[in-house]
Amino acid sequence: MSEFVIELLITLSKISVVLAVLLTGVAYSVYAERRVSAFIQNRYGPNRVGPQGLLQPLVDVIKLLLKEDIVPASANKFIHSLAPVISIIVSLSTFAVIPFGDTITIGDRVIKLQIADVNIGVLYFLAMTSLGVYGVTLSGWSSNNKYSLLGGLRSSAQMISYELSMGLAIIAIILMNGSLQLDVMVNNQAGWKWNIFLQPVGFIIFLVSAFAETNRTPFDLPEAEQELVGGYHTEYSSMKFALFFLAEYANVIISSAMITTIYLGGWQFPYLQDFGLPPMLVSIIQILTFVTKVVALVFFFIWVRWTIPRFRYDQLMNLGWKIMLPLGIANLVVTAIVLMLLK
């Protein structure tokens, strides 16, 4: 086999493993959401299928697949089918740049645990989140339903507004690292030099923006069921609805992975190299560290959803434009000045 074919096979296997883990993670975060919300509201939640209801996601998927797929008569059929596909492709492909471990050595080949180590790294993440707006907007428009349209428009306005403060928080991190590459950022956070301690304001801005970008409570206005029936996916059923659902939870996981990578040290386990463990074990511990951090953040997302009530629309816009954006700019300026002084 030539070198090219081997590289191709390695990349393809990395992609399939990541996709499999991600989709399983999505299914189980839905389950976790239902169980945690039940716990918070003093109920049981799904506990019938399998031990502790652990097979519930499987049953849910089968149910969604077997449902009838309805397209509204006056909908734009092509765009109506296209919108959920855009949503899921955009959210899944975002994971390509996230490093989920350092390197792993199999035989004499060193494999980087990241699908695509590109020079533009974090910009790719921003670009993909900005494309996520299309799925929501187009689904809202093509359904030919006023609630869907309102949900779609709200969502686009919200995502565009919070993208800016998210970008500003990231620029401060880029300034500190002098690179757009995510693995450089992770390497610079060795030990306890996590960016959350160096950039606490940036972390808060990024976290809040991530909640807004993923349309989660307290920013779930696009699907505020009391006002909009169900928002942009009101007219969707069966697997098309499931794709939106998948995309939402995939976005939660990917935002958590991104927060982990940028602010919580990624796969870094403090002082792991001092223990003198065999390299294979070190790689596995690093991957598990990454997964643990991501799972903790996903739990945090769920926890917040069932604790904080929804914002009003004007409050949301005020928070985005009058608090988060100036705070982001101030954070950026202060970071730049401090870096200049330290130089």
Binding site: V118, S130, L131
Partner: protein
């Protein structure tokens, strides 16, 4: 011509970009036109990637696909533009100009293709390969081209202030 992955990608991306551009100007529904324009931007971004200009490729996605086209679609949805019923009117003077412009465009294209095959445009130099990265582009913008860069930023600032003044009905 050798058939490696890059050639295959180049040919498919260029065909897709030309086809999407033609579809963009011939669709009657403005939303479909906008979607084909987005597809066109995407293929152009892929072509930038083939030229190793990663930064420009991602900025193409981020700015054109992720920001400008979202606004376009916003406007089309909010104004609820209907299907373009009227065909192009007044063929007389418009067609003359468009024929002239088309001849000029194909002249430039033909010139590039013809002289390109003559061997004037050889593969990329090392400098061209590294110019596409964010580091090199940033260094150039802030040293050699700092004046035009600042000028452009002033222009944008003026545009932002103008937009706010236009949008705000009256100042308290």
């Amino acid at each position: 011509m050798k058939f490696d992955l890059e050639t295959v990608l180049f040919i498919s991306l260029s065909v897709l970009s030309v086809v999407s551009a033609i579809y963009m100007i011939t669709r009657k529904n403005p939303i479909n036109s906008a979607l084909f324009l987005i597809l066109n931007f995407f293929t152009v971004s892929g072509l930038y990637l083939l030229l190793k200009a990663q930064f420009i490729a991602i900025i193409q996605v981020l700015v054109y696909m992720g920001a400008i086209m979202v606004l376009f679609i916003f406007v089309i949805m909010l104004l609820n533009l209907q299907f373009q019923k009227k065909k192009l009117e007044s063929y007389s003077y418009k067609s003359l100009t468009s024929i002239l412009l088309a001849i000029m465009l194909f002249g430039i294209l033909g010139y590039t293709v013809y002289f390109g095959f003559e061997g004037k445009f050889k593969g990329m130099s090392d400098k061209a390969l590294e110019i596409g990265t964010a580091e090199k582009l940033g260094a150039e913008l802030f040293t050699n081209y700092s004046f035009p860069f600042e000028l452009a930023s002033f222009l944008l600032l003026a545009a932002i202030v103008g937009a706010i003044v236009l949008a705000k009905k009256k100042f308290e």
